[in-house]
Amino acid sequence: ETIGVSIPAATHGWAGALNFHAERTIAHLEEVYPDLDFVLATTPDSATQVSDLEDMVATRGIDALVVLPFESEPLTGPIQRIAESGTWVTVVDRGLSVEGIETLYVAGDNDSFGRTAGQYFADTLDDGAKVVVMRGIPSTVDNERVAGFEEAIDGSGIEVLAMDHGNWNRDTAFTLMQDWLSRFPQIDAVWAADDDMAVGALAAIEQAGRTGEMIVVGGAGMKEMVDRIRNGDATVPVNVTYPPSMISTAIEMTAVGVTGAAPMSGEFIIASELITPENAADYYFEDSPY
């Protein structure tokens, strides 16, 4: 049996961790199930992902597919056709725009990702607090997260000073934060919709000597951030999970399902959770790369 795995290329930290977990899981499963074959393809954009899927079907004869769609809309049609041909399909993280295509759905919850952070702000910040928001690469994922965040802070009296794209990139986030620090004399909190950006923002805040004036909430549970929370860093009080290891879950469950070891189907939504100094130890994984 051959299982195809198609995921976005490692163009930012979270996707990098995704790649790491995918490779590790595949290596592990190939040992455990000697008759399982895996095909891993990483893609820089939707069009390439469709090509990869075509190639997997035409030349590798896959029996099951684990796919994290680069974007939902464009991949829906091609994945639907693969599913219709009787291939097992596991969709990870980004849901397709037509329901009921996939056999198995393993995902984080982007809305909850933004909402959890927003809720924390609404709960802890004073009325009239000023925040800045660093968004990711313009995409549906980013839109969902921001929408969740905005809904959560709605009516809390929190003022969003500025919102711009940090592209899930440390350097861009650093630059953006530097400029925001020049522009706004008062910032109470920063929401960076990803920990890579939080790293950039923190460096800029530290450089400006304004550590202590504001808190920074990132997301996805990067080791470094969890460590700071664990150690009670006042600037980084909490984080929001969005585990890249969900790909491992998806691949493992697919392998189990395909080999018929146990029946597998349905939805596994991994809600985002708030990492706090109290529970941080549970989210710290020493050997994780992320």
Binding site: A58, T140, D142
Partner: protein, 334 residues
């Protein structure tokens, strides 16, 4: 030592085989052989169709790029332009669907719009380059950013998608075909053949080469230099529109990441094919070979597990260089 002998080695041989001519073909054949060795499905009908059909977008654009480069120009904006035109087309088709319903006229109007939008975009590039007189590199770097921003803005950061039913209606334009040959392949072949004919057998093609070779000479030979250069950009824009017409039914959507890096791929294909980057000489069939080489590399990498997917880019880079080494053996420096 006579005049005749020295003139033979200056390329553009008619008849005689030389490295410059067969280089890209050899590289292509080598890739095909490697593919056959790696995977028995490589030559399957499905795989060949897949590879050719998906080459069509870049291929059609690269044919246009061949003219631009031959005339001494460059266009970095084609990828973003394709994304923008695709987004615009989808937006308008969705609008039209509400009034005209899911019907053929919507598709036809959408296609017309894509072609016109591409043409206009090319015209803007061309006017800035030939009339305002800014370097092509800068103009198209600028418009590259502009179109990429515009599509992001149109899509509100997300993805623009064609209505589901509309997509089903439009789908056959990518997935259908006649006599087992899918439409994109047919379109690509037609564009390539027409391109080759225009390049070699019309005054326009010749004027492009003359302008790329020496603009002053072209002007002194009463070639309307600005007009011909403008025409190359317009042609390229039109072909970008045409590529989009084939692309939209494939994915039914457009987003900020659509067409990313297509410009580099198209330019690479053109140069691998033997067209001179500085202009003065271009060949469309070479570009086609270049496009196929580039798609085949991607396909081959998916056929095997030899290399870590992280290293795909490295293999691609190495093959691009090798493909050109093959043809430029001891050739010109830049």
């Amino acid at each position: 030592m006579t005049m005749a002998t020295t003139q033979n080695n200056t390329g553009r041989t008619r008849g005689g085989l030389n490295l410059q001519v067969i280089g890209p073909i050899v590289a292509l054949i080598a890739l095909v052989l490697i593919g056959m060795a790696l995977n028995s499905n490589f030559l399957s009908y499905a795989n060949i169709t897949n590879v050719l059909a998906r080459s069509a977008f870049i291929g059609i654009i690269a044919v246009g790029m061949t003219f631009v480069i031959t005339a001494g120009g460059l266009d970095l904006s084609v990828g973003s332009m394709a994304a923008f035109v695709a987004g615009l087309m989808i937006l308008v088709m969705n609008q039209l669907t509400t009034s005209l319903g899911v019907s053929l006229p919507v598709i036809l109007l959408g296609i017309a719009l894509a072609l016109v939008a591409g043409l206009v975009a090319g015209l803007i590039n061309g006017i800035l380059i030939t009339r305002v007189g800014i370097e092509a590199f800068i103009v198209t770097l600028g418009t590259m950013g502009i179109y990429r921003s515009l599509i992001t803005w149109l899509a509100d950061g997300g993805t623009l998608s064609l209505g589901f039913e509309m997509r089903e209606l439009y789908r056959p334009v990518y997935y259908g075909g006649i006599a087992g040959i899918s439409w994109p392949i047919i379109a690509f072949v037609v564009v390539a053949v027409l391109g080759e004919v225009v390049m070699r057998h019309t005054a326009f093609g010749r004027h492009c080469a003359a302008i790329g070779s020496n603009e002053k000479v072209a002007r002194y030979s009463s070639i309307p230099v600005a007009r011909v250069k403008l025409a190359t950009y317009v042609l390229l824009g039109l072909l970008v529109g045409f590529a989009v017409v084939m692309y939209v039914p494939r994915l039914g959507s457009a987003s900020a990441s659509t067409g990313l890096l297509w410009e580099l791929e198209a330019i690479a294909a053109v140069i691998i094919g033997g067209t001179l980057l500085k202009g003065g000489f271009g060949r469309v069939w070479g570009t086609v070979v270049g496009v196929l080489i580039l798609s085949l590399i991607g396909n081959l990498l998916n056929l095997t597990d030899f290399v870590s997917p992280y290293l795909n880019g490295a293999i691609q880079g190495a093959v691009i260089i090798l493909a050109v080494v093959l043809q430029r053996k001891g050739g010109t420096e830049r």
